[in-house]
Symmetry: none
Subunit: 197 residues, 4 copies
DNA sequence: CATGAATGAGTCTTCATTCAT
DNA sequence: AATGAATGAAGACTCATTCAT
């Protein structure tokens, strides 16, 4: 963008509200409709913007949706308490809440389904949400191991996969949304990890 | 195949072949392209059939895909050996092989993404593949518990979710396809379940 | 196209009327609007056909217009009389009549303007109309030379260009459509060619 | 360039540069793309100006292109030598050179194709380039006739059309760009015009 | 004056579905 | 039963033009 000598941008400035409204609408519609079914018309209407305004900022539909996904970020998790059970629970409950808030299952479904055509989607999801979430879990486990609460030779990565993955297996099996889920999987995991004394 | 009273197959032999060819093509394309991207033209071409022939048997695209998904069945798993570790491994490895063979992740992604528009898809998947697979796992665990190898109060359903779900978490995290996966998650699970003595 | 054993085409047969109506409409609109301005909607409406029907037969707009141009053919010119002046006149008058009937100037203009983007157009025009027309003229000249009415060393190709080209120069100069044109250019040409004795 | 009474250039020097840059870019793009295909964005980019700056000076696309065409002028032809053959050749060669330099065929094609929608274009072309070029030719012929080298009753206008028009016929026939063209058509024309003695 | 944002109208093309043979 | 033609309803993207800064 060109600027004047004083650094002020020349011409009319791009509306930040519109920008955000578009991305928000796009993300919601992506979750609700899936990549292909979602139309730019819908986004334009939802964001109260003309279709051309969207194209002005993102050249293609794929670009828009990539940008929309890139805005996704994990919500903040309370700081670790030092108690492994408490901390794992708090991460998983936040995870579940997040998934429900943004219709995460559908979003993930779309990204998986689109992998062959638009691989950026699942990559972004991985970087922005899946990776960080798993990292949080792993960190709690490592610290606990540092405190000697967990067996030295425990396979923490597998523990993370169990904690995180059981959510999806449950959803697919039709037992998603159970409030006990977090407690159950945490206790199960701890049983596998704890130093046997 | 239907037969007449005399045992001779009814006239529409040719039709039955087409029937199957269509369903097979539809399933493959569903996994490869996703629900919306897959077109009836593609199915028709792949099945070497006219588009009208498809519509003759299934009124709509959704009907066809529902039928296609309904044909999915778990491949046969070797009979239980009685050793819990062996049996769980054999089930999980068969599961992973299956997923790769039919591009299962993409298929599941599509069904999840489409849940709002075509809920039959995920339902079918659940009934035909997810449910049975989980049932197999559960059965092995229960029998082992019957033999006293597993704690009486063990949460078997959560164990199943961990075994099954870790596959998805791994995939999403970009660590799918690892051959060690099955061993690792089985050993992790057994550590949680075994009677501590 | 697949056919039955008896050679009869299978399924509904493609309407020859529609086919022709589309091509006719396309050619007319091409002349009236030019390549880019002409829309498939206009063609569909003019031919009383759905847009999809057009796409069923021609994959793209360029394909359609190429096909439309390819249908162009010179109208029939009366058989040569043996008198050079009569024959040249008859060819040129037919040429002028044709040009007016199909709005040839606009058509040629479009093909020239599109040369960079759709070179097939001018090529087709050349093969179907310009080339044959010039060939007719040349043939009359050659036969006349054979009869000794024209100088042996006369540059017939240049004569053809003068006869044919003066039409365009006149049009561009704003003196198109003059009924005397043909006589004048023929007499001029003959003056250049005749054996001086 | 305009100047104040004191001879100092008027303030909008910068503006005048832009003005010219726009017109130049427009003319080039008109020849390269044709009326409809050429976009104001392309012009703006080529002229290093914003689209709005264009609209500030010309209300519509048609206005701009009309103005652009109006800037066209024949390049200067060397002063007549008094020898008819030499002078005709020099005019025609300059003509051909011009046509190639500005992609004149495409430009003319566009103007002809657009005649129905934007008749100003061909009118301008006629006034600025075709007319003057033909006038040059005619003048040489008339002077030659004045010197008695050409028959009194010769049809000079037709001669001009032959000289000028053969260029287009040749181009359309696929024999454009031949260096001999000018000589051939001049000699042909002179053969028709010369006083037979 | 000059710029960039914003937009509405329009265009080609695709596709599930219905018709005619 | 099976085929291919025909279609209406969309959808992504483009562009001349108008606004706001």
């Amino acid at each position: 963008m060109r600027t004047t000598k004083t650094g002020k941008p020349v011409g009319r400035t791009r509306s930040a509200e519109k920008h955000e409204a578009i991305l928000t609408a796009a993300l919601e519609l992506l979750a609700a409709q899936g990549y292909v079914r979602m139309t730019l018309d819908q986004v334009a209407t939802a964001a109260d913007v003309s279709k051309s305004t969207i194209h002005l900022r993102w050249k293609t539909k794929a670009d828009l949706l990539t940008a929309a996904l890139a805005t996704m970020r994990m919500a903040d998790v309370p700081p670790p308490s030092g108690d492994i059970r408490t901390d794992l629970l708090s991460i998983l409950k936040d995870f579940a809440a997040n998934m429900e808030r943004v219709n995460g299952i559908a979003l993930i479904g779309t990204c998986l389904a689109e992998e062959a055509h638009t691989p950026e989607l699942i990559t972004l999801l991985r970087e922005r949400t899946i990776g960080p979430r798993r990292a949080l879990l792993r960190q709690v486990l490592e610290e606990s191991r540092g405190r000697g609460e967990i067996r030295e030779d425990a396979d923490l990565e597998t523990a993370v996969s169990a904690l995180h993955g059981s959510y999806f297996s449950d959803y697919m099996a039709g037992r998603g949304g159970r409030p006990e889920w977090a407690e159950q999987v945490v206790d199960f995991t701890l049983a596998a990890l704890r130093t046997s004394d």
